[in-house]
Structures are given as structure tokens and as C-alpha cells.
Amino acid sequence: MRIKFQIVGDTLYLFLIGELDEHYAKGVKEFIDEKVDQQKNLKNVIFNMQELSFMDSTGIGILLGRYKKCKKSGLNIYIENPSLAVDKVLSLSGIYEIMPKI
């Protein structure tokens, strides 16, 4: 599991790569929170999941936690290009209602 980031204007892109499970949860949360806190004047956070080949409900917990945090600062969160396997877990959880798929 790897994670990369890129900032374009007021948008933070987070690229999740590999397989996300409990083993990587803490590191992923800390990476995301650090990047969000470091950037001033952010408006959007986009999780790109094109290269995330696997995610279980651990990922749902991480996303819900980030949503709660980002909502306080008025940030919008989106999910971009989830792979088929990841999309099934995300759809089932209902998370697209709070972070739309783009």
C-alpha cells in the first residue's frame, strides 16, 4: 500500500495505490491528516482510487473519519475512479452520499 499526493490550486489529490486494510490504517490516516492540515485555503480533497486494487471496511472507517474532520473546515471530499472491487464496497456502505463519485 502506497499513497501519493498532489496539490492543484485549492484541491488536494490523494492517490491510493495497492491494497488497503487494517495493517495500513494508522499510517494512511496520519498521512492524510498531515497533508490536509498543512495546506491552507484548501477547498476540495479528492481520493483517487484508480490504482487501489483492494479495500475492505477498514477503508470505510478511514473515509468516514476523514469526512468528519474535513467537514469542520468546510472541505468537500470526492472519490475519483474507484476500481470495480473497491466501488462495490463503497457503494454498499452508502458513502457516496457524503463524498460523491466523480
Binding site: K29, G61, L84, S93
Partner: protein, 141 residues
């Protein structure tokens, strides 16, 4: 009939091992990508539950047993731990219910197992452990 079993420490790095083992085991059925992902995800959920919930620091041996059998295109999996057991099973299987809010667990594990597999059952006993059984019929396509 083919069968396998794998016993490993209840540590999060072994979730990948469990997913890989079960994937390899079902490959002889030529599963679709979706079927394979369903099985991998369900096993990952069951193993994660045992890693996160089954054992506290009072346990010296913390192990998980993954068993699988294949017969007539029916895959039957048991994920067994020997830990504390589930206090309230009715609550545990409810979507979004979790006893681990502080570490941001979603409470969706059992819901995903139920939705991704054809059959799903849990046996649990206080202080003895928990056995989750997952069944998928690959003949259904």
C-alpha cells in the same frame, strides 16, 4: 473435494496472507474477477475482526485458523479464533455498529460478509472464541 487450512498469528500483516491464500485456493474454479474479489473481501473482513477484537493483551497465544473446502463448486470457509468471543451478537451484526469507534472502525464488516457471500453464519462462545462460516456457490455464476 479439496481442502486447506492455514494457521497464523492474529496480526494485521497476515490479512494479506489470508486473502492471497484463499484467492489461490479458488483459482481452480476459474472464478470471475468479481467472485474472486467478493471472497477476498469477505475473508479480509472476518480475519480483520479476529485481529481487532478477539484478543486483548491478556492473551499470550493469539492465533487465527483459516479453513477452506471446495466441493461441487461450493466454497466453504471457516475463520476461527480462540479469543474472547462476541459479547452481543445481535448488536455486532448490525450495520455501522462497532465497539471500536475510537480507532474509526466502520462497523460494516459483517454486513459486507453477508452481502458478498451466499451464506454466512457465526458461532461464538465467551472466552472460547468465534467461528465465522462463509459459503459461496460458484455454480451460480
Amino acid at each position: 473435494m479439496n481442502k486447506m487450512s492455514l494457521r497464523f498469528d492474529a496480526r494485521s500483516q497476515n490479512e494479506y496472507l489470508a486473502r492471497t491464500a484463499i484467492s489461490s485456493f479458488v483459482l481452480e474454479l476459474n472464478p470471475s474477477v468479481e467472485q474472486l474479489n467478493d471472497v477476498k473481501t469477505a475473508v479480509s473482513e472476518a480475519v480483520t475482526n479476529s485481529v481487532v477484537h478477539a484478543y486483548d493483551s491478556s492473551y499470550k497465544d493469539k492465533e487465527i485458523l483459516l479453513e477452506a473446502s471446495l466441493e461441487d463448486k461450493v466454497l466453504r470457509i471457516n475463520v476461527i479464533d480462540f479469543g474472547r468471543g462476541i459479547d452481543n451478537l445481535d448488536e455486532a451484526v448490525k450495520p455501522y455498529f462497532t465497539t471500536k469507534k475510537e480507532v474509526e472502525r466502520s462497523g460494516m464488516g459483517f454486513t459486507i460478509m453477508k452481502m458478498f457471500m451466499d451464506e454466512f453464519s457465526i458461532q461464538t462462545a465467551k472466552g472460547k472464541g468465534t467461528k465465522v462460516t462463509l459459503v459461496k456457490n460458484f455454480a451460480k455464476g
